[in-house]
Amino acid sequence: MSSTEITCKELVELVTDYLDHRMPAEQRLPFEEHIAFCSPRAVYLEQIRQTITVTGALREDDLDQQSRDAMLNVFKDFRR
């Protein structure tokens, strides 16, 4: 048996540690060794990555004009 084998069940709990670069050094190699050949793991990891990307896209929603104007008015009022 390899000294540290990370099962798929364990992997799903470790994905965020890995992506955050917070995985202990001794876990990284077994983690990646298994991603290298196990399609479901690789698929799961990729799906988490895509989920993060989609979530990040919410940041792109523009400030609506009305809110923007209201904020700019704060400045105008302040300066008076």
Binding site: T7, C8, K9, E10, V12, E13, V15, T16, D17, D20, R22, C38, S39, P40, R41, V43, Y44, Q47, I48, Q50, T51, I52, T53, V54, T55, G56, A57, L58, R59, D61, D62, L63, S67, R68, A70, M71, L72, V74, F75, K76, F78, R79
Partner: protein
Amino acid sequence: MVRALREGDEAAFAHLVDAFGGSMQRVAALYVRDRAVVQEVVQDTWVAVLRGIDRFESRSSLRTWLFSILVNIAKTRGVRESRSVPFASIADDPESGEESVPVDRFLGDDSAWPGHWASAVPEWHRPLERLLSTEVRTLISASIAQLPDMQRKVVSLRDVEGWSAEEVCNVLELSETNQRVLLHRARSKLREVIERSGLQEN
């Protein structure tokens, strides 16, 4: 930027509004439910920023300072508000063990492959660019709103607003480990939401 603001440069202020305004609304909404109150929190923050800009020391970044003001104001208003309209509060203990993926998706200890996937993880066939559609984004946005309170806050600040782990830990007063556990649960949930929606298929 700070100097320009101190000198009353309107263009500099507009620049700040464009840079942070949307984010400020979203972050305020993490604490406060009523749309009108969200706007008030944001406006109050701008006033506080303008009032305090002369005293601002550039030791921390302008962004960090601005958002710490926002969060303080939002928290206060949020507490006041929750006495009448509480957020659904589901127990959200980072210490409790909770699985990201249902246990039955893995083979048991008596099988030839304990802990391995029982069946293939269904692939997402829609390419990423098309996953960024309005439909999916709306779904994710709604799903985030329904997460337990701390998971909602962590995933919003980390993955929507792009704050660092350190910033989030400071603002939410969480240990790094707890922050990561909460983030992980939220992400797992959102992944599952996409998987069950059918929107990841062509």
